[in-house]
């Protein structure tokens, strides 16, 4: 069916034969017509339950097909959905421990968000979504350290839910601490579970902005509550300002090597004509693009020679995978924020970029 992208992975001889005879494409087609979760190699999952956690958070219970290789508590996956004909992929933390019956993704609706809006409003039980294999090193080391500390804020609690869930299943909550921050009491995700785990031995410290006292993460209050924090393995996940404050606290105590962080990086967009930095993956080059004209022209000005043809957006020769960053289609003005192929001759940069060149 489809050619493997260059250098992507090694194909088994059988897979090569199947591809050369177009049999893989046909097999995939018929498998999907029999059952949309069936696939020769792709991980697909059926939605078997949707739980309302808070007014703007839902947990989606998924059962992946046999290609799912499992995950470790604290890892994330890419969820793939098709919205108005377009495939979108977004990273979400897996909120369930590895041996749970179903994979749980606890997802907060981002105001105006295409994907989270779709998941909240349109995705229903029985639908099939795509998944990428789990990844991420926000996990328990082996052996699991005693007395783990979790410091979380808002939707950043999701990896901690998986890790605490794993501890709960193994009777290991004793000695663990969760310090969680939320805007309001009714916005606390999985509150019932947290209370249950607290009864089973978890030290649970909850702070909401609607209670008296400091708002959000407050280092002084935290030191009082968890005086031994610097000596404990800590998993930190929350909004960027909170993470920044916590990171400097740990650095001050020379405890940074025991601080594990999870954060999804977003690149701030720049405006038209502004210079950006581009990382070229294949050549390993870092270049500064001046922001004038198309990306193709800008790359040529810094000495690159990307393959190209018509220079007017019709032939697709200059198509190149953008692995991170935001670009704009100069024909339509549409922004491309996800990792996807772009045509260099009709795109310009709207943030720092990483390109497969």
């Amino acid at each position: 069916m489809t050619q493997p992208l260059e250098g992507q992975h090694h194909e088994s001889p059988l897979a090569t034969v199947a591809r050369r005879l177009h049999l893989d494409r046909q097999a995939e087609h018929w498998l999907q017509r029999i059952d949309p979760t069936l696939s020769l190699g792709e991980v697909r999952a059926r939605v078997i339950g949707i739980r309302h956690e808070t007014p703007d958070v839902k947990t989606f219970q998924l059962t992946p097909n046999g290609h799912w290789k499992g995950h470790r508590s604290g890892q994330h996956t890419l969820l793939e959905v098709t919205i108005d004909g377009v495939r979108h992929r977004r990273p979400f933390t897996i909120a369930s421990p590895p041996d749970a019956d179903a994979l749980a993704l606890t997802i907060k609706r981002i105001p105006g968000g295409t994907v989270t809006g779709f998941l909240h409003d349109r995705l229903s039980v029985g639908d099939v979504v795509g998944l990428a294999q789990a990844s991420g090193d926000f996990v328990f080391p082996d052996p699991r350290p005693t007395g783990p500390l979790f410091l979380t804020g808002g939707a950043g609690i999701t990896p901690a839910l998986a890790m605490l869930g794993e501890l709960a299943q193994r009777g290991g909550l004793e000695g663990a601490t969760l310090v969680h921050h939320a805007r309001e009491a009714k916005g606390i995700i999985a509150r019932d579970r947290l209370v249950r785990w607290a009864e089973a031995g978890l030290e649970l410290i909850l702070h909401t902005d609607d209670e008296p006292g400091p708002r959000g993460f407050d280092p002084d209050r935290f030191i009082e509550e968890v005086p031994d924090f610097a000596g404990r393995h800590t998993w930190l996940c929350g909004p960027p300002p909170m993470m920044d404050v916590a990171r400097s606290l740990w650095a001050l105590c020379h405890a940074s090597e025991r601080l594990h962080e999870e954060r999804f990086v977003t690149t701030p967009p720049v405006s038209d004509g502004q210079a950006v930095k581009a990382t070229l993956r294949r050549s390993g080059r870092q270049v500064t693009l001046d922001g004038r004209g198309s990306l193709l022209e800008q790359l040529e000005r810094v000495g690159e020679k990307p393959a190209h043809g018509c220079r007017m957006g019709i032939c697709g020769t200059c198509r190149c995978a953008k692995t991170s960053g935001v670009t704009r289609d100069r024909e339509t003005g549409a922004l491309s924020t996800e990792p996807q192929p772009i045509r260099l001759c009709v795109s310009d940069a709207r943030s720092d970029l990483e390109l497969d060149l």
Partner: protein, 377 residues
């Protein structure tokens, strides 16, 4: 040329109106487009499976005819409406790897990557420019008085027929640029290097159609062999007919290299319009041609999903009327007849009268005003 009544400003205004049509459709891309191509894929896959089952397990002539027909139909859909259009990047925006122009490999002996270069870049950028668009006559037939006559063109009615029957091989060999061996632009080693992906792919294709599938059919092997051969030949003839009707009926213009000098955006559009011709018909015909029955719209907007061309054609035609520009269209029969007449006529060296019939190409930006010339010569 047939646009000399337009000033440079008018040509650019024409281009801007086409840009607006393109942008409106780009902004509207969505589930309907995806649903269309998925539906065609479903039909093609079902038809192929049905065809193969008839061929492999039938014993009577009726199931042979049905099987071969279904297989031909499937192969035509796969090459024309699916392969050609997907490889143009018409569905790249979906982000679906199965509809990705740089991953799709079609059921043809011509490897997708080399075809994409010769077709998407050379043919679509330099459409009908002599010496630049190698698809003009496929180096085998002479389709205009502007092409220099060679002795070999005398037999072009026969060579065209041969090309029709083996079109996928013709396209693949064409992509190898064998003629560069003769004029010294490529060494035999370079040509061999270029040929490797083709030889590999063609080997697999041949092995599949003429060894593997027949072998799987056991006693029915000759039947399956014959069915596959006929299906491939049927698709060859069809693709040849559609493509020759797209650029070579009377009235479709050829251009001199000089038009490319400082060619503006509007002039590029104009060249696409003047070098292409449409086939009239119903939805079924359009789908069978991969919507290349709307060759004009395809050349104006090669990256828009092709099923939108019939709707776009109404806008383009209205635009052409307003700018008093020709819009070359006719039924399949008319266009075929026109192509055949041209092939016959240009098999012989052009006389002065023939030269006058199809005026020598002139640079596009003339700006001279005058009556639009007739569409068909």
């Amino acid at each position: 040329m047939t646009h000399q009544h337009l000033t440079p400003d008018e040509i650019e205004a024409f281009g801007r109106e086409l840009d607006a049509i393109r942008d409106r459709h780009l902004a509207d891309l969505g589930e309907r487009d995806r649903a269309h191509i998925q539906r065609i894929i479903r039909i093609a896959e079902t038809s192929e499976l049905a065809g193969r089952l008839f061929l492999h397990f039938g014993i009577d002539p009726i199931s042979f005819v049905l099987g071969t027909g279904a297989l031909t139909f499937a192969k035509i859909l796969e090459n024309m409406e699916i392969g050609h259009n997907v490889m143009h990047g018409q569905y790249d925006w979906t982000g679906d790897p199965d509809l990705d122009s740089h991953r799709y490999e079609w059921d043809s002996v011509s490897p997708a990557a080399s075809w994409r270069h010769s077709h998407n870049f050379e043919h679509h950028t330099y459409t009908n420019v002599l010496g630049m668009d190698r698809d003009v006559g496929y180096n085998l037939v002479r389709v205009g008085a502007e092409q220099q006559w060679r002795l070999g063109y005398l037999v072009q009615p026969a060579s065209a027929l041969g090309l029709a029957l083996t079109f996928q091989w013709g396209v693949a060999l064409h992509d190898l640029r064998l003629e560069e061996l003769a004029n010294g632009r490529s060494t035999p080693a370079e040509v061999l290097e270029r040929a490797k992906p083709f030889l590999r792919k063609a080997g697999w294709q041949v092995a599949r159609d003429y060894l593997l599938y027949p072998a799987l059919a056991g006693l029915n092997a000759p039947r399956v062999f014959a069915g596959n051969l006929l299906a491939n030949a049927g698709r060859n003839v069809w693709a040849f007919a559609v493509i020759f009707c797209g650029h070579f009926p009377e009235g479709a213009e050829l251009f001199d290299r000089s038009v490319l000098e400082d060619e503006s955006h509007g002039e590029w559009y104009l060249r696409q319009l003047l070098g292409s011709a449409n086939i009239e018909g119903g939805t079924f015909l359009h789908v069978l041609t991969g919507h290349l029955s709307h060759q004009i719209e395809h050349h104006l907007f090669p990256a828009l999903p092709a099923w939108r061309y019939p709707a776009i054609a109404r806008e383009v035609r209205a635009l052409c009327e307003r700018y008093e520009l020709p819009y070359n269209t006719g039924t399949l029969g008319e266009q075929l007849k026109s192509v055949a007449a041209k092939l016959l006529r240009h098999a012989l060296p052009s006389r002065a009268r023939a030269e006058a019939d199809s005026p020598a190409p002139t640079p596009v930006a003339t700006g001279a005003r005058g009556k639009p010339a007739a569409v068909a010569a």
